[in-house]
Amino acid sequence: MSMAKKECIKVLHNERIEEGVYDLWLDAGDMATRAQPGQFLSLYCNNGGRLLPRPISICEIDKKSKRIRLVYRVMGEGTKEFAELKSGDFLDCMGPLGKGFTLEGKKALIIGGGIGIPPLLELAKQLTCEKDIVLGYRDATFLNKEFEKYGKVYISTEDGSVGRKGNVIDVIKENDLTADIIFSCGPTPMLRGVKEFALANKIKAQLSLEERMACGIGACLACVCQSKEVDHHTNVNNKRICKEGPVFYADEVII
């Protein structure tokens, strides 16, 4: 019967790439075949005290070798546990989940902030149009070299240690970047800024949102965001980030 299931997946590689940021490759089997940029996996902890899944976006998909790459930051006990995984260990996962990015546009602006940067890598890879890439960090950078293959990369850091001191919007304005489609993922204040910029410049924008999740598959209604229109499923102004999202058009949601 079951087409989808929770699976025990082998860890191929797990490495610290920056203070508190880890790079994890999974032997994901069918999950890799089905995965789309912008979708996420639910990862489960080993420690029985922590029951809920941790949603982590897909950073890269290698359909040929059926591998999926995740890049995550250690935030609490669950991600701390993941940081200790070694090659050959096993991890319970479910996915790919949610609705990812829609590949579209002629000139794209990819805007990532902090740990919102990883999900944009596979997007950048799959997106064939012309693109500018703006990455905002607090201080230390990661993954930026890998983006260079896919477009021109602009960097901002809060402390000015790399690239421009400031935020992604500062970089965009300074460089007069423009596009007919924006793809963005990052902290909510940044997404608000991106939405505002997109509106002001009449650019279509796809934003990847975050919320605490329990089921990850649309059943519990934990992860809603406010939607502009009454949503078809909920019949109220709510959309489920795990199901209708995590990627939404900026004008669909109130953030």
Partner: protein, 312 residues
């Protein structure tokens, strides 16, 4: 798909139970609010294997629910303050019901309201629908009106039960709150009001504080605690209520495995619901059924009904 042994077992084992004249193919249903409208789990489990599907609470009009964050993880459990978001009875009847009916399982509809009248109106709307039982949720801790306010006071439990019964053409389950001094009192009140069955427990009111931000983790401040953490409380309450009333009980609270389910059955539950476990393992409901069957074969118990309330 299934191997021979389990096929044979199914012939030998009787897992059928009955409540209020209805027969369920096995004692396992889903806990309201943890299984969506059933559709979401259709990819993970065969809904036709379940004794019944119990739906998310449904109200007269659409409810938007509470602001986020709506959930928080706790040790061995979770808090939720969804606030009974639901699309309202019309969408439920038009969209969710036909989907559920297309499976060979019973349908239990969880009903919520802000006033006694609203409960009755939903019950009335469902009277002529093809559903099997109604579960009246008078115990949700996450909405300001209705919900738990009804469920913590025996007099009000009896009153709302008898009101709802007037409008109901289907058997009525009253869902009890564990946030009470003596659950056998509210159980007896529901029985006196004419309830056909009881379900327990709903969630226990809890709170989590984000010490870094020094703020409540949930937008609603408090939420309902569920998951394996609460199982011992739930089993105790089922045992207590089974010894206080004659009507059948649907037991729930932290069931993750067939073994957990059997504790509730031995304590006196005729059926059990799987809730939070669905989030941790979307195949949990089927695995609970498998676990019960495996226990029965292993212990050569051919009729599940022999286990109901058998603890000594």
């Amino acid at each position: 798909m299934e191997n021979k042994i389990s096929k044979n077992n199914k012939i030998d084992l009787n897992t059928e139970v009955s409540i209020a004249g209805l027969t369920f193919k096995n004692p396992v249903t889903t806990a309201s609010g943890t299984f969506g409208s059933g559709m979401e789990y259709g990819d993970y489990v065969d809904l036709s294997r379940l004794g019944a599907v119990t739906t998310k609470g449904v109200s007269l009009l659409p409810w938007p629910g509470n602001p986020t964050p709506r959930i928080a993880e706790t040790y061995g459990g979770m808090l939720n303050a969804i606030g009974l978001q639901n699309p309202g009875i019309d969408v439920f009847i038009d969209r969710d019901l036909p989907y559920l009916r297309s499976h060979d399982t019973k349908i239990i509809v969880n009903v919520v309201g802000k006033t006694a009248e609203e409960y009755c109106q939903v019950v009335e709307r469902l009277s002529d629908c093809d559903v099997d039982m109604l579960e009246i949720n008078i115990s949700c801790p996450n909405v300001k009106e209705g919900g738990i306010a009804f469920g913590q006071d025996a007099t009000r439990v009896e009153a709302i039960t008898s009101q709802v019964k007037k409008y109901a053409k289907k058997p009525i389950i009253i869902k009890l709150s564990p946030n009470v001094t003596d659950i056998s009192e509210t159980a007896r009140a529901a029985e006196a009001g004419g309830a056909d069955a009881l379900s327990l427990i709903n969630t226990l009111t809890g709170m989590k504080i984000d010490i870094d931000r020094r703020k409540f983790l949930l937008a609603n401040k408090t939420g309902g605690l569920s998951g394996p953490a609460i199982k011992p409380i739930a089993v105790r309450m089922v045992y207590q209520v089974a010894n206080a009333v004659k009507i059948p009980i649907i037991g729930m609270g932290g069931i993750m495995t067939g073994e957990d389910a059997l504790e509730f059955i031995m304590a006196g539950a005729t059926m059990v619901s799987v809730g939070t476990a669905n989030f941790i393992n979307p195949m949990a409901t089927e695995e609970v059924i498998d676990g019960i069957e495996a226990y029965m074969s292993r212990n050569q118990i051919y009729d599940i009904n022999k286990l109901i309330g058998c603890v000594e």
